[in-house]
Amino acid sequence: MTKKVGKQTLKMENKPRIISTFSIVGPKEGKGPLKDYFDVIKNDDLAGKDSYEKAESNILYTAVTESIKKANLKEDDIDFLFAGDLLNQLTSSSFAARDMNIPFLGLYGACSTMTESLSIASMVMDGDFANYIIAATSSHFSSAERQFRFPLEFGSQRPPTARWTVTGSGAMVLGREGNFPYVTYVTIGKVKDYGIIDANNMGAAMAPAAVSTLYNHFKDTGRSPKDYDVIATGDLGKVGKEITAKLLKDYGYDISHNYIDCGEEIFDNETQGTDSGGSGCGCSAVVLCGYLYKNMLSGKFKRILVVSTGALMSTTSSLQGESIPGIAHAVAIEYGTGGS
């Protein structure tokens, strides 16, 4: 007997609790519509370091260590750290883990990393392999520009369709006990590629993956969109969000009344010049650790479904003309629904 439900979904019988979260964002995110929900807003996006890569690693380190403090735990109490980021060889995460004394697994799911790390953390918790696990991720506008577009030194213009990588890091501590929001279902996504080549149209590239994961989540669990107070995709942006809602409707699931996209929520595109919205691992991470989690604690949201979305290309694959495969993982979180 397994805990698998349907084709891609896992039921968390021990209901791993999210006992604390911590979110840090850069100055631009700190001026956005969700600014009141973040734990720390950095005034300096270099975080006092001499490179943006070091800065990103530093904010990830801070998010992890502060989330431990917030849970009233010590580093020694944490059994595992599951983290990932967007940079080559996951240096932000590995270099942050270098300064910690916690067993570490590095994960790459592009911008889907928050729900990827949270999914795996929940499974390991539900398998009774740990008492406390941290799921975390980070991204940084300037290090991502260097990695995926052009280094800032190059001084290139951003095309109007370009997404704005969120500078930020989110970390969650999972524990076994206490009255906290808890994970009930995890749906692991499949890689979907509908042949989109344009790196400036990632929302459309990732939408099929989000649709597939959402569809299978509803089918596996027997739930419907209205069972959730909020369904939040990671960083599809306006275009990707519209495609997702439309395709799901064709499959018989109408998510339009409670559907948000973290990339759309985090910036005010009109006044902040972010064009097509936020992206990056940090985007769904800080929206989940900040806005969504805090609204669960306050009782506004009782049941949410978070679907971080990732585009799995590399700079090399794009230059070689490969299309952009997408991935999405869904995690259902509940609090105060009477189920615990």
Binding site: K28, Y52, S142
Partner: protein
């Protein structure tokens, strides 16, 4: 004198407007646009068409990238005329040496003096 300023402004501005439209409306990367502009300058220079643009636009035509391509073409042709076919390999860079060295030198100085900042 004043006429020169105005025509340089118009011609230089037009060249930049074309580039801006290409950035905004097409999927060409900035690198491709830069290289296309230089190549276009080489072709128009070799066909003596860019000479007309320069006669009217002055520095407005020589300073932007097609002007660099124009210099490459003209100095290659000159070197070939003076030294034979070997000039096809040596002429272009010789003629454009001032521009190339200045780009490297000032680029280096700028890199030493300034740090890039995150875009607003």
């Amino acid at each position: 004198m004043m006429n020169d300023y105005v025509s340089a402004f118009i011609v230089g501005g037009l060249i930049c407007v074309i580039a801006q439209i290409l950035i905004d409306k097409t999927k060409f990367t900035p690198a491709r646009i830069l290289v296309s502009f230089v190549t276009l300058g080489v072709i128009l220079g070799a066909l003596n068409i860019y000479d007309v643009v320069i006669r009217f636009g002055k520095a407005g035509a020589t300073i932007p990238l097609p002007g660099f391509g124009y210099t490459l073409a003209k100095s290659t042709i000159k070197e070939v005329n003076e030294k034979g076919l070997i000039g096809a390999f040596t002429g272009g860079i010789k003629g454009a040496a001032g521009g190339i060295t200045a780009a490297i030198f000032f680029g280096y100085v700028a890199a030493l003096l300034f740090d890039p900042k995150t875009k607003k």
